[in-house]
């Protein structure tokens, strides 16, 4: 299934700026994109980003094995934001650098834990996981908690110029 994720350039810039802010003990910041959805008329899905939910400094917790993680408060806020209007939640963080980023085992394990929760709040919507680099992006989407993930295979940054790879150049 084709999945296209579209975001306005200004919002993407704001997301990147937020994720690059240093935190007192978390090496990587995370956030949540909130997206509307629609069929693309060709059997695929379009996700249209309508907002971004930052994670407050206090909502990071120290974790002995991974260093830091976001706590239940951050998840609750994201789920609340996705409730009305119903929105897809895309957990997003950045690995920096250039080129197509990949997910770590920790990223994928955490998705397995939060996707069912989000699906419970907004069952009509798919939910997913994104990782950014400074000029690219990679994403997975779940159509439901008991369904396998599938890749988001098209990204469009709506700005000037319009870019298909979420780069800013």
């Amino acid at each position: 299934m084709n999945v296209c994720l579209k975001i306005c350039g200004d919002l993407l810039d704001a997301v990147r700026a937020d994720l690059h802010r240093p935190h007192s003990f978390a090496h990587e910041r995370v956030g949540f994109l909130l997206a509307a959805a629609a069929s693309d008329g060709q059997g695929g899905i379009m996700l249209l980003v309508r907002g971004y939910q930052t994670v407050a400094d206090d909502d990071y917790e120290w974790h002995p094995s991974v260093g830091a993680q976001i706590g239940s408060n951050a998840m609750r806020k994201a789920a609340q934001a996705s409730y009305r209007p119903p929105s897809a939640i895309l957990h997003v963080h950045t690995h920096g650098g250039r080129g197509r980023p990949g997910f770590s085992r920790v990223d994928l394990d955490s998705a397995a834990s939060f996707v069912p929760g989000f699906a419970e709040t907004a069952p009509r919507m798919p939910h997913g996981l994104l990782v950014l680099s400074n000029d690219s992006v990679h994403g997975l989407l779940w159509a439901g908690p008991d369904r396998p993930a599938f890749p988001i295979n098209s990204f469009k940054r709506i700005s000037a110029p319009i870019r298909a790879d979420w780069s800013d150049k």
């Binding site: 299934m1 296209c4 579209k6 975001i7 306005c8 350039g9 200004d10 919002l11 997206a35 509307a36 959805a37 629609a38 069929s39 693309d40 008329g41 060709q42 695929g44 899905i45 379009m46 249209l48 309508r50 907002g51 209007p85 990949g102 997910f103 994928l108 394990d109 998705a111 397995a112 996707v115 069952p123 009509r124 919507m125 798919p126 997975l140 779940w142 159509a143 439901g144 369904r147 396998p148 993930a149 599938f150 890749p151 469009k156 709506i158 700005s159 000037a160 110029p161 319009i162 298909a164």
Partner: protein
């Protein structure tokens, strides 16, 4: 050597970017008949062509590509546009719909950009609203002939507007107004054919194509996502309108950022529980432990059911 070599200044990857583009053209009369021709020459690869009308004799003064034979055959404007594209680029991907755009709107959702060649103000307004909902940049073209006083003098004028998500819309810029909509509604069915000629359409269409190109394969460092060009055929001028400058830094409140997508969307309706569907999805998953578990579950289910 490629047929697009002479436009390589559009960027090293411009051939591919243009080839990958899908442009929606709504209304294939005077304005968009020029646009579709130019896009074909540029090497744009994908088209969604929409117009419910067939060519008539009074279209021949301006519909580029239309012939007397087309009139005699009452050929749909979509077919004429398709023929025009394929005569330049036989590999183009073309979907065409002889229908009102609202009836085939779903087929326009995946377009990278939509260019409207629609006369009525209400049509401009509705088409722009559709584009905003699916984060699609919209280029509107409009041309009018106005009588100057009682004399046999006329003003030929028009505008081209690039309306992207987050930028001033046609209402912000005064192209769509309540008064214009009211006047238009009052004249409905009584307006007759509006005066139209070929050369202003050509200028407006070329301007629209230039805006599209700078958006996807910019040839300079300052591409714009919002533009308003006003054309005065009497003065022979095409200028960036003050209306846009006056809106600089002012947010559009007609289309909130949150008003996107399909409010009725339900992902669960896209999937039935057939193993084939699950298999297809599972096969496309990459590097996902959840995907591996699902594939294993499908394999196990198939093994058990084959016993």
């Amino acid at each position: 050597m490629s047929w697009l070599d002479r436009q390589s200044f559009l960027g090293p990857d411009s051939d591919q970017v243009l080839q990958d583009l899908t442009v929606g053209l709504v209304g294939l009369g005077g304005g968009n008949s020029h646009v579709v021709q130019q896009l074909a020459h540029l090497g744009v690869g994908g088209f969604v062509l929409v117009d419910d009308d067939v060519i008539s004799e009074t279209n021949l003064n301006r519909l580029v590509g239309g012939t007397l034979e087309d009139v005699l055959e009452a050929r749909p404007k979509t077919e004429i546009a398709k023929r025009m594209v394929l005569s330049v680029n036989p590999k183009a991907r073309i979907a065409f719909h002889q229908a009102k755009w609202q009836e085939v709107a779903e087929h326009l959702r995946a377009c990278d950009i939509i260019i409207g060649g629609v006369d009525r103000i209400i049509a401009k307004s509705e088409l722009e609203a559709f584009c905003r909902r699916f984060l699609i940049p919209y280029i509107d073209m409009g041309m009018d002939v106005h009588r100057l006083g009682d004399a046999e003098n006329f003003l030929v004028a028009g505008q081209v507007v690039l309306s992207s998500p987050g930028t001033p819309c046609l209402r912000c810029l005064g192209v769509v107004t309540d008064n214009a909509l009211t006047d238009e509604a009052a004249q409905y069915g009584d307006a007759g054919g509006k005066p139209q000629v070929v050369w202003p359409n050509g200028i407006l269409a070329s301007t629209a194509v230039g805006l599209l190109v700078q958006l996807f394969t910019p040839w300079h460092g300052k591409p714009v996502r919002s533009a308003y060009f006003a054309y005065d055929a009497n003065e022979g001028t095409l200028v960036s309108s003050d209306r846009l400058r006056r809106r600089a830094g002012v947010a559009c409140h007609h289309f909130p950022d949150t008003a996107v997508g399909d409010p009725q969307f339900d992902i669960r309706l896209l999937f039935d529980n057939s193993p084939a569907d699950c298999e297809e999805v599972a096969a496309s998953a990459q590097n996902s432990p959840v995907g591996w578990i699902a594939r294993f579950a499908i394999w196990l289910r198939q093994k058990l059911s084959s016993r």
